[in-house]
């Protein structure tokens, strides 16, 4: 989990982190090197230091500073030994990063398979193998490996999210939805996953058949609603809400009322959204998006802001026409 959260950092942050590496290595040069640590003379060891090394390692790799990354990795290996699972995963990551061509990557892959043949429970290496399969664009194999991993550890949300992405890239929408629902079962308040599930539903409604489009769109709208309910001013959530509700308005007949609620609730399906509610949702989403764009103080991704602006412009144009 720490790995994925780190990758979400912006490029600037990663760069500034990796520029601190040399300094950090110098400062903690003595930590963990002597066999018998002497209290008070050396820094007391804490888990923070090693987590910092891991972070530095990853950001160095991202910014292309392979030499510094190698130094961090060496520190970690000398502390935890080359057979530590997590360190093995990081080492594999380094090898993948410095590999020049596909042949080298294949060799790394073979190494992973040897490790896994010896010890099937080595999750970091298993995950590296899956990522490597992906970057070698052997997605079907990656999907197979992921399902195998999830068979033995069905509460791993990182793996479920990854599997959802893979299914999505193959346009297998029901499968992707299933995976994201599994993630929600472990982390029910993850608003980004709610929004993402809404996005997947929206895409599948666009690509599906006409009959069920309204129903899927209504579900997607509700997912986005839940997402912004959990996180105020969540740009992606409002963007999706605007997108789905506009689309829903264009296909819904004008006269759907909420009377349908009573009849359809029994079989567990949610009732269709009434047109008035969808219209209000769309209006609110437009207002909110405009507000977020106006008050944006660099906390959001620039690309997302631009996309939101674009969406608002398009919708106003449509209305004027």
């Amino acid at each position: 989990m720490s790995l994925s959260s780190l990758l979400r950092r912006s490029n600037l942050e990663a760069l500034s982190l990796s520029q601190q590496t040399a300094q950090h290595l110098q400062k903690h040069a003595s930590t963990g090197t002597s066999t018998i640590p002497i209290p008070l003379l050396s820094y007391p060891e804490s888990t923070d230091i090693w987590l910092t090394y891991e972070r530095l390692f990853l950001s160095c790799l991202r910014t292309g500073d392979d030499r510094a990354a190698f130094n961090c990795l060496e520190k970690l290996i000398s502390r935890f030994g080359a057979t530590n699972e997590r360190v093995m995963g990081l080492r594999g990551l380094y090898q993948e990063a410095v590999a020049k061509d596909d042949a080298t990557l294949e060799r790394v892959l073979q190494e992973y398979e040897e490790v896994l043949a010896e010890d099937a429970v080595n999750t970091p290496v298993a995950k590296r193998r899956i990522a490597l399969l992906q970057s070698l664009s052997r997605t079907t194999e990656a999907i197979d490996a992921l399902t195998e991993l999830l068979e033995s550890s069905p509460t791993d949300i990182e793996a479920w999210t990854e599997l959802a992405e893979l299914y999505l890239s193959h346009n297998l929408f029901p499968q992707a939805v299933f995976c994201l629902e599994e993630v929600l079962l472990v982390a029910p308040n993850a608003w980004n996953i709610h929004a993402h599930l809404g996005e997947v539903l929206y895409i599948s409604a666009m690509n599906g058949n006409e009959n069920s489009e309204g129903k899927i769109l209504a579900e997607a709208t509700r997912r986005f609603c839940r997402s912004v309910e959990l996180c105020d001013d969540y740009l992606r959530g409002y963007y999706g809400l605007k997108l789905t509700s506009d689309r829903l308005l264009s296909i819904l007949p004008d006269d759907i009322k909420s009377t349908a609620q009573v009849t359809t609730v029994d079989n567990g399906e949610l009732p269709m959204l009434s047109t008035a509610v969808v219209r209000r949702l769309s209006e609110q989403a437009t207002l909110k998006l405009a507000e977020i764009i106006r008050t944006n103080n660099n906390s959001c991704d620039l690309a997302e802001i631009t996309a939101a602006k674009d969406l608002l412009d398009r919708s106003t144009q449509r209305r004027q026409r």
Partner: protein, 260 residues
């Protein structure tokens, strides 16, 4: 009148240098030694095999489904429930399906459980032995000394805590005996150890006692001696009676009510 009367005992300053300091230093050093002894004695936790992992995580999945069922639609929930309940009842996820229905083995004969107990024994020993030794040392050499006077008054209740080993009724509570100084050190050196050894040290015995209160809080659901099959069966029953409610029901109205 009692307040005005201040007890004064003429102590040899050598008492201070030859009892108070030695006890404190010895206590700190034992703490440090104990830390390293525990680190050396520790065995790496034994890795679980794939089937054991699968067994645990599958049960966890059922628990997650039960407690977070509102996150998915009722059709999705029903499908998952159907799958999990039938798999639980058939014992699909069991580590060794052949052992189903047999009574759980004696934890004493299970090598994995034995290892865990050995680890606990070692931890206990690293705590008990130095404690006994130092206690004996203090009792043999310094029993019955009054070594210092606290600079603040205390109530009579503290007498048993501060004056163990000195059986006098009339002595002011502020006087501290050597044996009590040992106890105070034993429980009060936590911050010193954090300063010397870093945050997660094994020197402090209070922390160890805490961890013994709830062993394996995060280690796993299965305690040795518990029958996983039984746990699966009861989880299946729990799942069957869950009343499902979908969180997305009426979410649009909730949202509109909150932002409009």
């Amino acid at each position: 009148m009692a307040g005005a009367l201040v007890q004064s005992i003429h102590r040899d300053p050598a008492l201070f240098y030859w009892i108070l300091f030695p006890i404190s230093i010895v206590m700190v050093l034992t703490g440090v030694l104990r830390h390293y002894a525990t680190v050396l004695l520790q065995t790496a936790p034994k890795k679980q095999g794939l089937p054991a992992l699968r067994e645990q995580r599958s049960l966890l999945r059922g628990i997650n489904l039960r407690s977070n069922s509102s996150a998915v639609s009722s059709t999705a929930f029903a499908a998952r429930r159907h799958y999990l309940v039938s798999a639980y009842k058939d014992g699909t996820f069991l580590k060794d399906p052949d052992n189903r229905g047999k009574p759980a083995g004696n934890p004493m004969t299970d090598p994995a459980a034995m290892e865990g107990m050995m680890g606990m024994m070692k931890g206990n020993m690293a705590m008990m032995i130095p404690q006994t030794l130092i206690m004996g040392w203090i009792n043999a050499f310094f029993a019955g000394f009054v070594i210092m006077k606290l600079p603040f008054p205390l109530t009579i209740r503290f007498k048993s805590m501060l004056q163990s080993g000195v059986a006098t009724r009339d002595l002011d509570v502020r006087w501290v005996s050597s044996l009590s100084w040992y106890f105070l050190n034993l429980f009060g050196l936590q911050s010193v150890f954090i300063f010397i050894l870093g945050n997660d040290n094994a020197a402090n015995q209070m922390a160890q006692q805490m961890s013994q209160m709830n062993p394996g809080a995060g280690a796993g659901l299965f305690q040795p001696g518990q029958d996983p099959d039984k746990m699966f069966q009861s989880e299946a029953e729990n799942l069957e009676v869950v009343e499902h409610e979908y969180i997305l029901k009426g979410v649009e109205d909730r949202l509109l009510a909150s932002i409009e």
